[in-house]
C-alpha cells in the first residue's frame, strides 16, 4: 500500500517537497542574494522535470479518487517543461521583485492543483483540484502590487472564476441528484440523456468553457492577460489552459461519452464562435499582450475542432497541438517578457523597427508567430493539420471550411506584427537589449521545440503509442 502510494504519486510528492523547500528558503532568504535564490529554484524545477521522466506506473489510489497512467504522466511532463521555460524567461522581472519566493510558491501550488486535476477520477477530487489551480492564480495576477491594472485584472479573474466554478458546481449537484454517484467510472453507465442530465451537462460545459476561455465565456481573458505581469500571462495562457484542455478532452471522451451526439453540436457552435470572435477581435488590438490573448482564444477554437472528432487520433492531435502551442506561445511571450522587463514597452507600435536593433529576438518572435499562424516549415502547421484532420473524420466539412477561412484571417494579423518588426521605419526603435543566459536558454529551448516537433515525427508517434 505504502509503496504503491510512493510510486504512483511520485510527481505530486516531489512537487510538494519542492514547495516545502521553498517555504524554508523564504525563511532564510535574507542571507541569500536574489540571483542565488533564482539559481536554486531553477535547479529545483529542473529536478522536478527530470523526476517526471522516471515515473511509468499506472493505477488508482484512495478508493478510485486518484488515477495515473502513462499519458497523464506525459501530460504532467509537458506542464513541467512549460513551467521551467516560464521560470527561466522571467529571470529579469523576478530579479527585481521583492516577493520572488512567494511567486514560486503560488505558481507551484497551482501546478500541484493541475496535477491532481489531470489525475482526478472523481468529481469531488476534480473540483478541489480545479480550485487549487485557480485561486492562487488570482493572487499571482495581482503580483505587480503597485500597478492599478494588475489589481483590477486580479479582481476580474477571481470573480469570474468563482462564478464559473459555481455554475460547474450547480451542474455537478444536479448530476449527483440524477445518478447518485460522483465516480468517473460509474457515471457513464448511469447516464441516459434525460433533460435534467443534459441541463447539468450544459452547466458543467459552461464551467469548462470559462476556464479555457471559449467564446461567449471569454470576456475576462483579454483584461486579465493585459493587467497581469507578463510571466503570469504566459502561465495563464499556456499551462493553465493546457491542463484544463487535457482534462476537458478526457472528461468528454470517458465520462460523458453516452451524451456524445449532444455535445458534438455544442462543441461545433462553440468552436465556430470562438474562432471567428477571437480572430476578429485580434485584428484591432494595439497592446501585444491583448493581441496574444485574442490569438490564444482563436487557437482554442481550433483545439475544439480537434476535440469534436472523438477518436484516438483526435486525443493524440490535441495533446500534440498543445505541445506545439506551448513552445510557440512561450517563445512569443518570452520575447515580450524580456522587452517588457527591461524597457516597460508592450504596445505594438513600440515594436516598429525592432529588427534593426535586436535581430535575434526579432527572428525568434517571427518564428513563433509563423508557428502560431501555421506556416509549413514550423511545427504549428503540422499541429493544425492534425487537428483539422481529426475534426474532418466526422464528415462535417462546413466546420473545416470555416476553420480554413479563419486561418487566412489569422495569418493577416500575425503578419501585421511581423511587418512592424521587419519593415516599418522607426526613428527611435527599442534600444539594444542585453539578454541574460537564462532567458536565452529558454528561448533556445522554444526554438528547438518549434522546429523539431514538426519535422521529426517522434513526439506524435510517442503520444499515439501511449493511447493504444
Amino acid at each position: 500500500m505504502l509503496s504503491d502510494f510512493l510510486q504512483l504519486m511520485l510527481q505530486e510528492l516531489l512537487l510538494t517537497i519542492i514547495i516545502f523547500i521553498l517555504l524554508f528558503l523564504k525563511l532564510s532568504s535574507k542571507e541569500l542574494s536574489k540571483v542565488n535564490l533564482l539559481n536554486i529554484i531553477n535547479l529545483l524545477l529542473l529536478i522536478n522535470l527530470i523526476g517526471g521522466f522516471f515515473t511509468t506506473n499506472s493505477g488508482t489510489l484512495f478508493g478510485d479518487m486518484f488515477q495515473t497512467n502513462d499519458l497523464l504522466i506525459f501530460e504532467k511532463n509537458i506542464l513541467n517543461v512549460g513551467v521551467l521555460i516560464i521560470s527561466l524567461q522571467s529571470y529579469d522581472w523576478l530579479k527585481t521583485h521583492k516577493h520572488l519566493v512567494e511567486f514560486y510558491i503560488l505558481m507551484l501550488s497551482t501546478l500541484l492543483g493541475m496535477y491532481f486535476m489531470l489525475s482526478s477520477n472523481n468529481l469531488l477530487m476534480f473540483y478541489l483540484a480545479l480550485e487549487l489551480s485557480t485561486i492562487p492564480l488570482a493572487a499571482l495576477t495581482n503580483f505587480d502590487l503597485e500597478k492599478r491594472q494588475s489589481s483590477e485584472a486580479a479582481f476580474k479573474m477571481i470573480i469570474s472564476s468563482a462564478f464559473s466554478s459555481t455554475l460547474l458546481l450547480f451542474g455537478i449537484s444536479l448530476l449527483y441528484g440524477t445518478i447518485g454517484t460522483l465516480n468517473f467510472v460509474e457515471i457513464p453507465a448511469a447516464l441516459n440523456g434525460s433533460p435534467l442530465q443534459l441541463f447539468s451537462f450544459i452547466l458543467l460545459l459552461t464551467g469548462f468553457a470559462f476556464k479555457i476561455s471559449a467564446v461567449p465565456f471569454h470576456l475576462w481573458t483579454a483584461d486579465v492577460y493585459e493587467g497581469a505581469p507578463v510571466a503570469v500571462t504566459s502561465y495563464l495562457s499556456v499551462i493553465s489552459k493546457g491542463a484544463v484542455l487535457f482534462v476537458f478532452t478526457s472528461v468528454l471522451y470517458t465520462v460523458f461519452e453516452p451524451l456524445s451526439t449532444s455535445w458534438y453540436n455544442m462543441l461545433f457552435l462553440l468552436s465556430i464562435l470562438t474562432m471567428i470572435v477571437g480572430n476578429l477581435f485580434a485584428l484591432r488590438q494595439q497592446n501585444m499582450k491583448r493581441f496574444l490573448a485574442f490569438s490564444s482564444i482563436a487557437q482554442v477554437g481550433f483545439i475544439l475542432i480537434g476535440i469534436s472528432g472523438q477518436n484516438i487520433v483526435s486525443t493524440a492531435s490535441v495533446v500534440f497541438f498543445i505541445v506545439i502551442y506551448l513552445f510557440s506561445n512561450l517563445a512569443a511571450f518570452g520575447v515580450l517578457t524580456i522587452v517588457s522587463a527591461q524597457t516597460g514597452k508592450e504596445s505594438m507600435n513600440d515594436f516598429n523597427g525592432f529588427y534593426k536593433t535586436n535581430p535575434t529576438l526579432s527572428w525568434v518572435l517571427a518564428l513563433a508567430l509563423f508557428s502560431l499562424a501555421g506556416i509549413p516549415p514550423t511545427a504549428g502547421f503540422f499541429g493544425k493539420f492534425f487537428l483539422l484532420l481529426a475534426g474532418a473524420s466526422k464528415g462535417n466539412y462546413l466546420l473545416i471550411t470555416i476553420a480554413a477561412l479563419n486561418m487566412v484571417v489569422a495569418l493577416f494579423y500575425y503578419l501585421r506584427v511581423i511587418q512592424a518588426i521587419f519593415m516599418t521605419k522607426n526613428e527611435k526603435p527599442i534600444e539594444k537589449i542585453k539578454v541574460h543566459l537564462f532567458p536565452k536558454l529558454a528561448l533556445l529551448l522554444c526554438v528547438i521545440g518549434i522546429i523539431c516537433t514538426g519535422i521529426f515525427n517522434t513526439v506524435y508517434n510517442y503520444i499515439f503509442s501511449l493511447l493504444k
Partner: protein, 104 residues
C-alpha cells in the same frame, strides 16, 4: 407531523441560486458581489445535502462534497478580499465602475 418533501427544498435552492445570480449581475459593490457568489455556493450545498438525504441515504458523497465546498468558499473569499483591499489602496474605491481601465 408531515415530512417536508424534496420538491420544497429544491425550490428553495433554485431560488437561492437565481437570487445569487441576480445579485452578482446587478450589484456594483465588490464585497456585495462576493456575497452573491456565496449565496450561489450555499444553494449548491442545499442541493447536495437534500439529494443525499432523500435519494441516496446509503452513501455520504453529497455531505462530504458540501463540507469541501464550505472550506473552499472560505479560501476563495480570503483571497478575493485580499485582492479587494489591495485594489482599494490604489483606486480609493471598491465600486466596480471605478475599476474600468481595460476594456475590449
Amino acid at each position: 407531523m408531515n415530512e417536508i418533501s424534496i420538491n420544497h427544498i429544491l425550490f428553495l435552492s433554485t431560488a437561492l441560486f437565481f437570487i445569487g445570480l441576480y445579485g452578482l449581475f446587478t450589484r456594483r459593490n465588490m464585497i456585495t458581489m462576493l456575497m452573491a457568489v456565496e449565496l450561489i455556493l450555499n444553494s449548491v450545498n442545499i442541493n447536495f445535502v437534500a439529494f443525499n438525504k432523500y435519494l441516496f441515504p446509503e452513501r455520504l458523497d453529497g455531505i462530504f462534497f458540501t463540507i469541501f465546498i464550505i472550506a473552499i468558499a472560505a479560501a476563495e473569499a480570503a483571497v478575493a478580499i485580499a485582492i479587494i483591499i489591495n485594489l482599494y489602496r490604489s483606486h480609493q474605491s471598491i465600486d466596480v465602475e471605478d475599476a474600468t481601465e481595460m476594456k475590449y
